[in-house]
Symmetry: C2
């Protein structure tokens, strides 16, 4: 029986762009677990009320319900230990640092490049909620947040230096093979890839080249994903 | 037989402040390996010429010579597998991200707060070399690099957010017990602790509280270290 994943979708239900849901998609694929995704919108609170909270990803695995991408990864690792996502308790603890960096530096950095673009691709019924909640967070109109993004590109690319330094020494953030650390960072990069046409990465950047390799994993799961 | 560690020292040979040597000190202590440290100055190139390069840390373990803090940690993990520094290959791969973040964001951030202070504590014979090499790197006089540091403190503390987020969920960067990830970040923080009186961390910050716990590890190795 497939795991069910409630997955953030745009106005086009095939466009899936949540950086957290993508971490879960990659983790499920890594485990070779079949998945049935259910397109979900910000306004569909009732559809996931059974999870006891209001955000995706949420997975339903038989009777088990898990929300939060990190908790889902831990659950999957326990349910299906191989191939491993974390490589043990210390590997999981260290991956939490990658997750924290991605949630703060990477996600926060990307948001300022695409948050206005997101408004164009999300479902019509989500737009008022999205604009008001995000403008409250940034303290600015979405147009102002995104303005001048070309000028901020060099600083953003510089912020990827830790990833770049790791990729000088190993092919994957997980070492010789992809791990959940790869899914965290690549899942986050699926967000701008699927939701915006703005090019954040330079093709010659080792980070971009690694991301291309991730796009080819699991039968090209990332590469085949519909882009807005 | 003790491992010999060539360890950067100040004008006072008991003041040891290299962020890389501290990673090695903590890693050796984690393994319970006895160490004999040799105070080393930037101008002592000949003293470590046997290592084939010009930087510390360098360790001599019988016939084996290893330089570079990361390579030393890998060597120690292979030589004495328990207690583990990395928790396996994936844990080591993930720790490399922490190392890359510490080498770029954390070290680069701290440098701008203490680089002029360093000049006051290093050996007299090192001062001309230190000033000219660091001023070339920053493109500014050391006094200018460090100027206005109080105003930059909030941004620096904000840059520690990934560490703070991890510590919300676990006591150590290594999870339930300290790992080399803790040594990387704490070793880097030993640099300002030992070389400068400028207070980088707020006492109430969970990062500061975790650092206090690291200072108590290994019989208080970090806490007992002489400060300039």
């Amino acid at each position: 029986m497939s795991t069910v994943l409630f997955d953030l979708a745009g106005a086009d239900p095939e466009v899936r762009f949540s950086p957290y849901c993508w971490r879960t998609r990659f983790a499920l694929a890594h485990k070779g677990l079949p998945v049935r995704t259910v397109p979900w919108r910000f306004s569909d609170r009732e559809a996931i009320a059974f999870s006891g909270q209001g955000r995706v990803p949420v997975i339903q695995d038989g009777e088990t319900v898990v929300s939060d991408s990190w908790a889902i990864a831990e659950y999957l690792e326990e349910k299906a230990p191989t191939p491993t996502l974390f490589g043990g308790a210390t590997g999981r603890a260290h991956a939490l640092f990658v997750n924290a960096w991605a949630d703060s530096v990477l996600l926060g950095g990307i948001a300022r490049f695409i948050v206005r673009d997101l408004l164009d691709i999300i479902d019509h019924q989500d737009r008022d909620y999205f604009r008001s909640s995000r403008e409250a967070r940034f303290g600015q109109a979405l147009e102002a947040v995104q303005a001048g993004r070309e000028d901020r590109l060099a600083a953003f690319r510089e912020s990827l230096l830790p990833v770049r330094l790791v990729l000088r020494r190993q092919n994957w953030l997980g070492g010789a093979a992809p791990s959940y650390a790869d899914h965290i960072v690549a899942g986050t990069l699926m967000w701008p890839r699927c939701a915006s046409r703005f090019a954040l990465l330079e093709q010659a950047d080792p980070v971009a080249q690694w991301f291309e390799r991730v796009l080819d994993l699991y039968g090209g799961l990332g590469r085949q994903a519909k882009r807005a």
